[in-house]
Amino acid sequence: MVELNPKYLEDLPLTSYSDNSTELLRTGTWKYVQPTYEDKLPACSHLCPAGNDISKAMDLVARGQLDAAARLWRSANPLPATLGRVCPHPCESECNRNAFGGAIAIHAMERFLGDRSFDPAFLPERAPSTGKKVAVVGGGPAGIAAAYNLALAGHGVEVLDDKPAPGGYLRTGIPDYRLPREILDREIALVEHAGVTFTCGTRVGRDVGLDELRERFDAVIVAVGFHRARPLGVPGEDHPHVFNGVELLERILLGERPELPRRMAVVGGGNTAMDVARSLLRIGVEPVVVYRRSKLEMPAIPAEVDEAMAEGIEFNFLTAPSRVVVEDGRVTGLECVKMKLGEPDESGRRRPVPVEGSEFVVPVDGVVTAIGESADLEFLPEAARDGWRVAADARLVTPEEGVFAAGDVVSGAGTVTAAVGEGRRVAAVVHTWLTRGSLPDEAPPVQGLWDRPVNLDRTVYVEQLNPAYFTEVPRPELPELDPVERRSSFAEVMGGFTEAEAVAEARRCLVCGTCNECCNCLYFCPDVAIARRGDAFGFDIDADHCKGCGICVEECPRDALSLMEVKS
């Protein structure tokens, strides 16, 4: 090295001979913007009501770290194997891979990771006991998710459920061909392993009062769900061959095989209607679905509708029942009126309007109603109720101190997935309340509960990706039971991934908004200012030498870097 501060001519070389590294020069001072690694919300996770960290898990699977991925998925979601079967997976409809060969099979991946992690070794480590106790009223998905997360956080949690076994609608409302009982049982067993106590056959309001619960526990979470069917409100509804869909389904799913009419109208377009129709089919009844709007407006999971249609179930759209036709004491048909679609209502769906004089009779021997459910909230004080729902604010806090709520009773009939997400959120709120003694100003979105930082204000859609780095790779076909075979069986319809298939599918994942060490930033930096972090994940930017050109941001395939103003 030459003398940098020479005193004499002798200290200089003969000519311009340079052997000091330019690394000594802080060219990073030139910049006015600087790149920063900033993970953002992938479109899939943005739409995931359960708040699953999909991209990170996909990345782990792609690396072959299947157990780590399963552990991550189960770390806050106690029902991945269940959701991997019953979730309507809105994630896939928004998946950015749709532009490059078809959505990633996220739903199947969730099932794969759930099925992989039934061993208690997959549970996160439980935090040290806080000495606090929480009662969760209702053992459905929302209650389970809340209980699981609170137990892992170190609280003592007891779930009270009026049914003989926990699971709520998962047990009583979803047929085996969609969710085998064994899967649910194993997930609930894991929740118990995580420290949750289930007290079944106990109905709050009948066997124990709310006040008593508030006395015994530091917090109470109301998550009783919607399980009371709403009536049709048409003449003839009181006939014994007009069944309540929720109850009928529950009986069938619990193994009863009641004597039923040969051909039955199933009224409704939601998941219960689909589950009832498909279950009836499997026990030898011929179901006819009657729905007052068109297929497009059906609240049921589209795939369930398609599967039902594939199984040969008859559908009558734009048809509203007006009377149960009873002749000689027997149901002979369901009188209906044809509907047409008018202006959109507050739900955004077009409102059905009756067509004058279009009455006709659907010939059936019985009717099952499945037009919606409501909650039984009489155990709550008036102030904590708001019609069918619990009066809870956006933080899931009720006016009664120490009483919180989650699930359908807060947000109306939703999906199992939404219930899980709400359970996670209420757990976070209750945890804050129990550990800090105060309530949060606002409840974070469920994605805000991830243990890695993510800019929740920015969602990565296909426009934010750099298409130069993605090639079209088609979505794989998933195994599916033959429709003819499944007409007569409660065997599971959808097959799952093999390990190899899961890894191959995860490799298709664009890992939107999430650094996956693809190295583009590292390799395209003209200033050699980005370096691997040694053994840790990711990269560091050398602020002394980054000139802020932004090539790393532009060439990041997945928008996991952002340019920030340099603060002077």
Partner: protein, 326 residues
């Protein structure tokens, strides 16, 4: 932490990890020439000597007493890149050192224009050097004057918007090909693996090799710094800068079939083309089509022809000489 990235999307990069170029150099933000050098030296490894004539890199490397490369570098007169590389090679040969790669690293002015004669001499002698022309299509170091590498229609300070460059870019690659050297190739900073493979191939050849590397220049192209790689990629994907290689003046291989993206996407990112009329663009399109017909015809011709008969003292291809530190 080496992660096997092959599991990701096939376009993920797999490049040698070692760095010969250092940070703290004097390149402008977003400089394609800096990125190009970094990639070139990743390919060549530490057993390399570099010759740099007057060009942006004469400044980028750092002023006395600093230097940005961890290999010996000789700065030489503008027009002498090729002969200087030959001189270094001759000295190494005289010392019995045959384990060192000598790379001349010159801009388009130093290659297409002022260094043309010396380059022609060196490749005609088939001196064992790798000559890389990093081409930003004008004299950028002196403040954006036209060179014979400036494309048709481009603005420079000596081809103002009233009279943008009227002549097409000189086809330097074809001129090198006609010297019948063992290896000539084009490359782009947006396709680092292709570039690195070509550099390694050049390194494996005993004889003269010429790599024409297209680089972006935010200052001279009037483009955004962050778009440097994107513009380089579009130069390839529009077909404007084909990625191909030629062995012994005969065997042509197109290395990347472009998407033939609309050239407007490329032009619109660069202020130097902002003044262009629809007629200009149409002329460019027609020219582009003609150039591709010509290139494809050469590929066809090369398929039909055998390689030229080897001279008595043929340059020896000794196979891959892997950088020791890789």
């Amino acid at each position: 932490m080496a992660v096997d990235l092959t599991m990701y999307d096939p376009r993920n990069l797999h490049l040698p990890e070692h760095e010969i170029m250092r940070s703290g150099h004097m390149a402008c933000p977003g400089c394609g020439a800096a990125l190009g050098m970094r990639l070139a030296l990743k390919a060549l490894g530490p057993d390399t000597m570099v010759v740099i004539p007057a060009c942006c890199w004469a400044v980028i490397i750092g002023s006395y007493p600093y230097q940005a490369l961890e290999v010996p570098v000789l700065q030489v007169a503008f027009e002498t890149a090729a002969i200087s590389a030959s001189g270094v090679r001759a000295a190494l040969a005289a010392k019995g050192r045959d384990d060192i790669t000598v790379m001349a690293w010159a801009g388009d002015g130093g290659t297409f224009d002022i260094g043309f004669q010396s380059l022609s001499g060196a490749v005609e002698r088939n001196d064992d050097i790798i000559y890389v022309c990093y081409d930003n299509e004008a004299y950028m170091n002196t403040g954006i004057q036209r060179s014979s590498a400036t494309p048709y229609g481009a603005w420079t300070t000596t081809t103002p918007v009233e009279t943008p460059k009227a002549e097409p870019k000189k086809n330097m690659v074809e001129i090198m090909v006609e010297h019948r050297i063992p290896y000539t190739a084009t490359a782009s900073i947006a396709y680092p693996e292709d570039f690195i493979r070509k550099m390694k191939k050049a390194r494996s050849i005993r004889g003269a090799t010429f790599i024409h590397l297209w680089i972006s220049c935010p200052a001279g192209h009037k483009s955004e710094e962050r778009s440097s790689v994107k513009i380089a990629r579009l130069a390839v994907e529009t077909g404007i800068f084909p990625l191909y290689e030629v062995e012994y003046g005969t065997r042509y291989t197109i290395n990347h079939e472009p998407a033939f993206t609309d050239i407007r996407e490329y032009l619109e990112l660069q202020g130097r083309f902002r003044h262009l009329t629809d007629e200009h663009v149409e002329t460019m399109r027609r020219n582009l089509e003609w150039e591709w017909q010509r290139l494809r015809a050469k590929v066809e011709m090369g398929r039909k022809l055998p390689l030229p008969p080897a001279p008595v003292k043929a340059p020896v291809d000794e196979g891959e000489r892997e950088p020791a530190a890789e």
